[in-house]
Symmetry: C2
Subunit: 558 residues, 2 copies
Amino acid sequence: MDIKTVQKELKAAKLSGRLFMFGNMFIDEDILPEENQIRKLTGFTGSYALLFITPAKAFLFVDGRYELQAKKEVNLRRTEIVKLSETSLPRWLQNNFAKTAARISYNPWTITPKTLSSLQHALPRAEFIPAEDADRRLSPKKVKVFTHQKKFTGKTSKEKLAEFAAHLKKSGLDAFLVTSAANASWLLNLRSDALPYTPVFRAFVLVEKNASYKIFAENTDKEGALPFQKLAEILPLYAKIGADFSTMPAIISSFAPGIVNYPDIITDWKAVKNPVELKGVRSAHLRDGVAITKFLFWLSKNHKGKTETDITAKLLDFRKKELNFYSESFAPIAGSGANAAIVHYNPANQTPSLLKKNSVLLLDTGAQYYDGTTDITRTIALGTPSADMIEKNTLVLKAHIALASAVFPKQTGGNELDLIARQPLLKQGLDFAHGTGHGVGFFSDVHEGPARISVHAKGSAPLQTGMITSVEPGYYKENAFGIRIENLYAVKPQKGTPFLHFEVLTLVPLDKKLINKYLLTTEELNWLNRYHRQVFLSLKKYLTRQELEWLRDACSPL
Amino acid sequence: MDIKTVQKELKAAKLSGRLFMFGNMFIDEDILPEENQIRKLTGFTGSYALLFITPAKAFLFVDGRYELQAKKEVNLRRTEIVKLSETSLPRWLQNNFAKTAARISYNPWTITPKTLSSLQHALPRAEFIPAEDADRRLSPKKVKVFTHQKKFTGKTSKEKLAEFAAHLKKSGLDAFLVTSAANASWLLNLRSDALPYTPVFRAFVLVEKNASYKIFAENTDKEGALPFQKLAEILPLYAKIGADFSTMPAIISSFAPGIVNYPDIITDWKAVKNPVELKGVRSAHLRDGVAITKFLFWLSKNHKGKTETDITAKLLDFRKKELNFYSESFAPIAGSGANAAIVHYNPANQTPSLLKKNSVLLLDTGAQYYDGTTDITRTIALGTPSADMIEKNTLVLKAHIALASAVFPKQTGGNELDLIARQPLLKQGLDFAHGTGHGVGFFSDVHEGPARISVHAKGSAPLQTGMITSVEPGYYKENAFGIRIENLYAVKPQKGTPFLHFEVLTLVPLDKKLINKYLLTTEELNWLNRYHRQVFLSLKKYLTRQELEWLRDACSPL
C-alpha cells in the first residue's frame, strides 16, 4: 500500500481522512520494521510518528527529535511535516476539521479508547469510522515462546495469578483482560523471541477471578493460545470485565461493550523487584561490568582505525561470553565526536564513522540477561580531550552524584528528584533536553513504567523500595561533542531512618581523564573514589592480569 | 450556645448530627476569636478544627499540631478527639453513618460546594440539611475600610477591573462573584482593619463583563456596600455567572442555581507582583531589616531577665518607628529553649517564660507595611550554645542556602524544589515536619497561594517571575531546642539563560555563633559571606554608631 492508494480509497468511500497510529495492537511497545506501517507509507524511519492522510495530502506528525530527519526521508511534495512540538493531533484536527462533519477512518486495533475519545472530544461533529481492512499489524514471522524460570523470577506464575485473582475479587470484577505484553509476560513468566531487544511475549491474557486464565496470541508456538478473533466470542461471557484503557485497543470495546476501564495493577507490581530478582540484577550487573571492563581495556589498545559499529560489535562479543546473556537490551548508541551530541544516535543507521581522535566517545548500551536487564552510558576520552570536554564531563558527574547520593522520603515522585541532578548544570546556565532517569524492567522492557525521573513527568509515580531506575544526566554541544553518565540504581531504605536512597547496580569505571577534581567538593570526590573502589573490588577476580592492571589504574583514587 | 443546647435541638428535629466547619463565610481565611464557634462550643483554641455533634456525643477533629492541646482544652467526657492524621471527615462519616439514612445539619455559609459534595459522595444515603439558624459568622464589630494607594499598588482598581472584565468576556461569563476577601481587596485596592494581622477587606465583589461592579459587605463604613442578603436578589439577574467553588459558600448556589464553578484568576494574578509592588517590597524589607537589626543589638545587651513576650513587644516598638508600618503580619513566635521545638509556638497564649541562658531563641515574626509584607525567622544564641545546636543550625543553614541558590526552569512546581533544601538534613537522617516555603501577599495574607514549596503539595503551581516565597527549613528536637532560618525571596529570571532563580529580600544577619564553618562547602561559605556583605552595605546608613559596630561584627566574613 502507498499513499496514493490510500487516497483513492478515501475518495471512493467519501472519507475526509485516514489516521495511522504508530505501532501495532501492542500499543506503546516496540515493533518490528515490517510492522511499521508509517515507514512503509512514507519512508520515515524514526521510532515514533503519526500519519494522517487526506484525499489531497499526507501529514506526518513528528516530535523534536525527528523534525530534520523526517524532512530528509519523506517526499515533501506529497507529505507535509507537522511538528508535535508546536501542536498535538487533537488540536491539529480541531483547527482543520472542526467546521465540517468530517468522516475519519482509523484502525481500532492500534489506538486506545483514551486516545480515541480525545479525538472525538476535539471533533464533536466528526464521525470516526473503524477501517474495514484494519488489522492487528503483527508480523507473520513465527515466534518462539519460552518459560522464564522460577530461579530467575523468584515467584511462580501460579503464585502471581493467585495474587492477581485476589486483587480482582477485591475490585468486584469477574475477569480482567491484560493487554500489555510486558505485563502478560510477567504474570505468566513467559518470554519470546518476537523482538530483537525486548524479550516479551506479545499476548493478551484473560484472567478470571478464580485465577484460571486464557492466552490470546498469534504466530507463536505457544500451545493452547487462542487466536485474537476468539476475544469477540469469549469476552461477552463475563458480567463484569475490566481492562486498562491506556493499553487496550479500542476495538475490544466493540467485542465487550460493558468492559470497564481499570488500571492494570501489574504495572505497579512488576516495577517493584522481589529479593530473587534483585539478587539476579546485582549479579547480572557484575557480569555486565566484567564484559564492559574487558571491552574498555581492549578499546584502550585498539581504538585506532575502528568505526562506531566495529566497537559495538566487539562489546557484544564480550557480553555474549557472560553467563545468562540473552541479547542486547536496545540498539547500541556509540557516538564519536559530534555524533555524540545526538541524544539517540544509532550508528547502525548511518554509514560507518571512524572514531574521532582527541574527542569523546559516548557509549550507551545494555544487555538482557535472564537474571536482569542492564543499561549503561560511559563517556570515554580518545586521545587528548579539550578543557571544555573535561569541564562539562565534570559538571555532568556532579549532577550524577547529586542524584545518586540523594536521600528522600517515601511518596517522593521522580519529578521531585529531577532538579537535584540538574542543579550543577543549571547553575552554569546549562541543561539537557531529556529526562534524568527511567524505570528498568527485569528481563523485559529497558524503559519500564511507572517510575520516571523528569521534571516534565508531573505527578509521576512515587519511587518505592525495590524499583530500579537509571540516573543519566548529560550535556550536548551541537556539532561538537556529547556527554552522558548513566548508572542503574535500586531504591532501598536508608538504614535507621524512615527515608529511601539508591543502591548502585552498575559497576564500570568512569573515565578519570575527563574529570577535573578541583571542580568537585570533598563529598563528591569521596563518592567517586568510593565508587571506584567498589568497582575494583567487585570486578578484580574476573579479569586477566593485563585487564586487572588497567582497572587498578582506572579505579585508583583521584 | 453550648454542646448540650445543640444536642437538644438535634433531638427535637430528629437529626443525626450537626457539622461545624472552622471559620466564617470567608472560607479558609483568618477569623476573629469572637467568630470562632468551635472555640465557643468546646474551649479549643487552636487555629483549625472541625466539630461534629450528635445527640449523644461531640467529635472534635484536629490535626497533628493540636492532638495534645485539644486533650487539655476540651471536656473529654462530652467530646471525643478524632485525629485528622488517621482519618478524614468524609471517611469518618462513611465509617459511622453509611448504613443509616442519616440527617445531617450544616451551615451553608461556612462550607464550600466542593467540600459539601465530598461529604455527599461519602454518604450517598444521607440527607444534608442547611441549618435554619445558619449565619455568616461575622463579628458585629464595625470595620473601617481604606484605600490602598496607587503609589503602593502600581495599578488602579479601574485598570484591574478592566483586565478582569476582559478575562470574563473571554470566559463567556456575564458576571463573576469574587468570594475571596484577599482577591476582592486586591481587585478594588481596598483594605480594612477587620483583622489584627491581615489587612484584607472582607467583602464579596460582583464584577460584570462591562467592568462595573457591586460590593457586598456588612458592619463596615464602606459607602454603597450592599448587605449579603441582596445576593439572593441580584445573582439571578445574570444569565451566566461564575464563582470559584473552592472559596464560595455553598449557600450561594441556592441563590443562583445556575452559577458555575470557575477558578478565580485573581489568585494567580495577585501572586505575581508588579514592578511597583516589587520596588515597595524591597524597600519594606530594608526598613524591616533596620528595625530587626536595632532590636538584635538591643537584645544582645538586654536579654537577661526578659520574657519571650517582653522581646516581641520590644521588636514591635522598633518596627512601629519605620515608614509605612501598619501592623504585625501574624502573631509573633518567640520560643526560647524547648519552646522553640514547638513549630507554631505562640508565647502570648502561655504564661510569660523567661529567655533561657545557653540556649537558642527562635524568633519568627513579620510586619505589614503599606508597601510590602515581611516574614522572617532568625535563630539566636543566648549565652553559649551547645555543639549539637551549632551542628544542627549549620545543617539548617546548608538547607537554606541549597534552595536559596537554586536555579530552575520555568514551569517548576514548588514540590519539585523542596527536596533540594532537605538534602543536607535527610542525609543525616533528619527532617522537619512542615513545608519549606509559602507564597507571601502584598500588604495582605502573609501566607498566600498558589505558590507553595512542599513535597506534600503535589502538582503545586509553577513558580513565576514576580512571585514572592519564603525559604524556611528547620530542625526541632522535642523538649530541647528548635531552629529555623527564614528569608523571603522574589522569583526572577537568571540573566542570559531561560531559567529562574531567587532574589533575596530579607536583610538581617544570621547568628555566626551558631555556624560551624568547617561543615560548609566553599560555595556555601561564599554564599553566607556575600549575604552578610549585602546586609551590611544595605543597612549601614540607618544605624547608630554602636548599632553599626555590632552589625559590622555580625556581618564580618567567616
